[in-house]
């Protein structure tokens, strides 16, 4: 009996210790399952996952940047830029995988440039990346003359439609990137500097770390994640859309914050971000499946996301006393 009581306590302890986003997500899934019969089906769940992968990667990128007390407003346009660059290179006759590699490298370069402007140039991240956002937006439009551009290759279909052990390839790719990011964050010095920069930037320098170099690497790593996101969305749309990623940077911040990452003290991590992104995709998908008129959807989504962030802020404040 006593053992049971202990276990009960542990369970309630575990449950009440869960981040608020887990709760909201759970409630949402229950509500949608009741609201529509074909909601809780494997195919739909799989849909939600596939649909959220590109945003998920951008949200990982945004999370590590927010952890450094930064922000990257150019992530969305980076996705578009990557997509455009890849297809363009293919159209010029570069082999598709080589083109992808070049694209990834360029994207990391773009990220690193952000880091350079912020660190060396001592420009607030908000402004530096706002400038970069405008520049990349223009670049993508100029490169494509504003139109979507396409290239046909079996690779696109292969990536977006193959399943390995019942799990679609984009999910695998994202999982791999998650592991990579996780290892970077928790198992390398760069990762430690992410939390350190957000927690106590002056002390980073005192510890003999070149903070500017770290920023360049961190934003460069974000560029890597965005690049993969751009490649996946290109495969999913089998074409490059010059403005496809616009606005993702904000959804990504929202996901990170809903997931418990905070702009202060280097607090948070990418685990919560997964839930944050899933919350946003579940919401969008559920509203459609439950046939909520599209007219009302945008306002509903906005309100719920705002509410989720408020709840997260409040609950954590209460927990920390």
């Amino acid at each position: 009996m006593q053992a049971e009581a202990v276990r009960g306590n542990r369970l309630t302890g575990f449950v009440s210790g869960l981040p608020p986003v887990a709760w909201i997500l759970f409630v949402m899934v229950v509500v949608f399952s009741f609201a529509s019969p074909n909601y809780f089906e494997l195919r739909n769940i799989s849909n939600i996952f596939i649909q959220s992968m590109p945003l998920m990667l951008v949200a990982f990128a945004q999370t590590i940047i927010v952890l450094t007390e930064g922000i990257d407003l150019s992530l969305g346009t980076q996705v578009s830029f990557v997509s455009v660059l890849w297809i363009l290179l293919c159209q010029y006759g570069v082999p598709i995988l080589a083109a992808a590699a070049i694209t990834v490298a360029v994207s990391m370069g773009v990220g690193a440039t952000n880091g350079l402007i912020i660190g060396k140039g001592k420009i607030p991240a908000f402004i530096a990346t706002l400038g970069m956002q405008y520049v990349l937006y223009s670049t993508s439009l100029l490169l494509t003359a504003g139109a979507s551009i396409s290239f046909s290759d079996y690779l696109f279909q292969f990536v977006s439609e193959t399943k390995l052990l019942f799990i679609p390839l984009p999910v695998w790719i994202t999982a791999v990137m998650f592991c990579l990011t996780w290892v970077m964050l928790y198992k390398t010095r760069l990762g430690a500097s992410v939390f350190a920069l957000g927690g106590n930037p002056d002390a980073v320098t005192l510890a003999g770390v070149n903070a500017n170099k770290s920023l360049i690497k961190i934003y460069g790593f974000a560029g890597l994640l965005t690049a993969v996101s751009g490649l996946i969305i290109t495969c999913q749309l089998e074409s490059a859309q010059p403005i496809v990623g616009s606005g993702w940077e904000f959804e990504a911040v929202a996901a990170a914050l809903i997931g418990g990452t905070s702009f202060r003290e280097g607090k948070g991590g990418i685990g919560g971000t997964i839930l944050g992104v899933l919350l946003i995709s579940t919401l969008k998908n559920g509203l459609n499946i439950a046939r909520v008129p599209s007219l009302y959807q945008s306002a509903i989504i906005g309100t719920i996301i705002l509410a989720a962030i408020i709840i997260d802020v409040m609950v954590r404040r209460r927990r920390n006393g």
Partner: protein, 504 residues
């Protein structure tokens, strides 16, 4: 080669508005503890940081083991084996203890992957050597107490296996037990031939661990002496630059009527416990206590910055509902904060607007500002307090510490409140400015203003106060009138010990 491990030759370092170090010579031998003392702002931390590569000196040279070195960053110094416990908080709240201790030096494999297990083992061992095995190496630093955090800072510095260690006020936030462990460790380091630079204000520590002592004042070196060659009194005299009696001037005053009274005042965090104090018209009341005793917390409660947990505040005999500084200023209370740059001033704003910050609504109750009038007011206080600035529109960050403090005082003088709380009013300013401020406080009191003064400098608090409250761990533990003042008594009350084992 002689046993000097480090030599600093005519170092000068300037900051906007101050010469923090002026032509300083300094040396450190193997296996010695070299103590650096001086008043707040004397330049101790700056000297330490120059040695550590955190600041690049404007002039001068540094020799490490006879070799000239030019550190550009702390990394350069760390590579030579010069590590430090800084005065500031240098930990990262959301990294764990082990990660903090080995930050940027984590053991890793060829792929760059950190070996957490080894790191945690090493961290635990280090902490054990400091008698701190109770600190969980996997806990976020954020969750530790202030003292525990300080021990982690010390462990972090030790983990570099340095050849020179710099301790900048390491004991300020430690309890006795931890101080003992630290000293034990310092003695071991000494025995191992490591040179130690030790910055502290606590005189009683000097004799216990020190070998030589260097006194700084206003960025200048006053002298270096063997620890056994001087008395505490002489050290104080070197620090202050003149006899204490010359510095403090207090006119005899008659006090009439209570202006401020607190009744069992407590905060919510438990740092202030049932404090009852009284302040009379025309009186200067000192609040003595160790760093962390809760003096600032009490002041913040009275000024309405922090929410009150229990108790009452009376002003002119009437109970007031302490809600916010806005309200307390209306009730006639003003506060000069201890942290000038963070809380006292908008350093990027001009002198003029800083002076007007509080009193603006008093002079311009109808919302609209008339520049001519504002300008006249600013000029008046600039002249009255002799604030040295070529232009009242100059940003405060370009002023020296003393002048900055005068700006803060001008801000409150222009508001003309009856009650003033001065928290460390002379921290980090030169002696000249100090004397001016003491004179001003005396004048204010004789004009019938009441002052509650918090200070960590006993001579100052004894020299200026009409009455003193001693506060320890959030409680008022003693009260004495000017006639009964005795350094010994007050110090032992502050420390919570009975007897006279302490320096006079």
């Amino acid at each position: 080669m002689d046993e000097t491990i480090l030599r600093v030759h005519s170092i000068t370092k300037r900051f906007p508005g101050v010469k923090a170090l002026d032509n300083i010579d300094f040396d450190l031998k193997r296996g010695e503890v070299h103590i650096l003392v001086g008043e707040n702002g004397a330049g101790k931390s700056t000297l330490a940081k120059v040695i550590l590569g955190a600041y690049v000196p404007d002039e001068g040279e540094i020799f490490f083991e006879g070799q000239k070195v030019a550190f550009k960053t702390t990394r350069d110094a760390l590579e030579k084996g010069i590590a430090a416990v800084y005065q500031e908080f240098t930990l990262f709240p959301y990294l764990n203890v082990a990660q903090n201790i080995f930050f940027n030096r984590e053991p890793r494999n060829k792929l760059g992957i950190i070996d957490h297990r080894k790191m945690e083992r090493d961290a635990a061992e280090l902490l054990r050597s400091l008698n701190c095995e109770y600190i969980d190496v996997r806990a976020y630093v954020k969750k530790l107490s202030v003292a525990e955090q300080q021990m982690v800072e010390i462990a972090k510095a030790l983990s570099y296996s340095p050849r020179i260690m710099v301790f900048d006020e390491p004991t300020a936030t430690l309890s006795e037990r931890e101080v003992e462990s630290l000293f034990e460790r310092i003695h071991k380091l000494k025995a191992a031939g490591i040179g130690i630079i030790y910055v502290s204000h606590r005189m009683q520590e000097f004799k216990f661990i020190g070998d030589r002592i260097t006194v700084l004042r206003d960025g200048k070196k006053i002298g270096t002496v063997g620890i056994n060659e001087v008395s505490d009194k002489e050290i104080v005299k070197m620090m202050v630059g003149r006899d204490i009696s010359q510095v403090f001037h207090r006119s005899a005053n008659v006090f009439s009527g209570e202006v401020l009274k607190t009744e069992t005042l407590s905060d919510r965090a438990g740092r202030v416990k049932e404090a009852s104090i009284v302040l009379n018209k025309g009186e200067i009341v000192g609040l003595a206590g160790l760093v962390g005793a809760g003096r600032t917390e009490l002041a913040k409660l009275i000024f309405g910055v922090d929410p009150i947990g229990g108790g009452k505040v009376y002003i002119h005999g009437r109970e007031v509902n302490v809600t916010s500084p806005v309200h307390m200023v209306k009730c006639g209370v003003g506060m000069v904060c201890e942290d000038r740059k963070r809380l006292g001033l908008a350093v990027n704003d001009s002198v003029a607007w800083n002076i007007m910050a509080v009193s603006l609504k008093k002079y311009f109750p109808r919302f609209i500002i008339y520049y001519n009038k504002a300008y006249d007011i600013v000029e008046k206080y600039k002249t009255q307090l002799r604030i040295a600035t070529p232009d009242v529109l100059r940003k405060c960050k370009f002023l020296s510490g003393g002048n900055q403090q005068k700006v803060v005082l001008a801000k409150w003088l222009s508001m003309d409140t009856d009650i003033l709380i001065f928290d460390e009013p002379t921290r980090g300013i030169d002696v000249g400015a100090k004397i001016e401020i003491y004179g001003l406080m005396d004048k204010l009191a004789s004009e019938g203003k009441s002052i509650l003064m918090i200070s960590s400098e006993l001579p100052e608090i004894i020299g200026m106060s009409d009455r003193i409250y001693v506060i320890r761990e959030g409680r008022i533990v003693g009260e004495c009138k000017r006639a009964e003042f005795s350094t010994d008594d007050i110090a032992s009350q502050m420390l919570g010990i009975v007897g006279d084992a302490h320096a006079s």
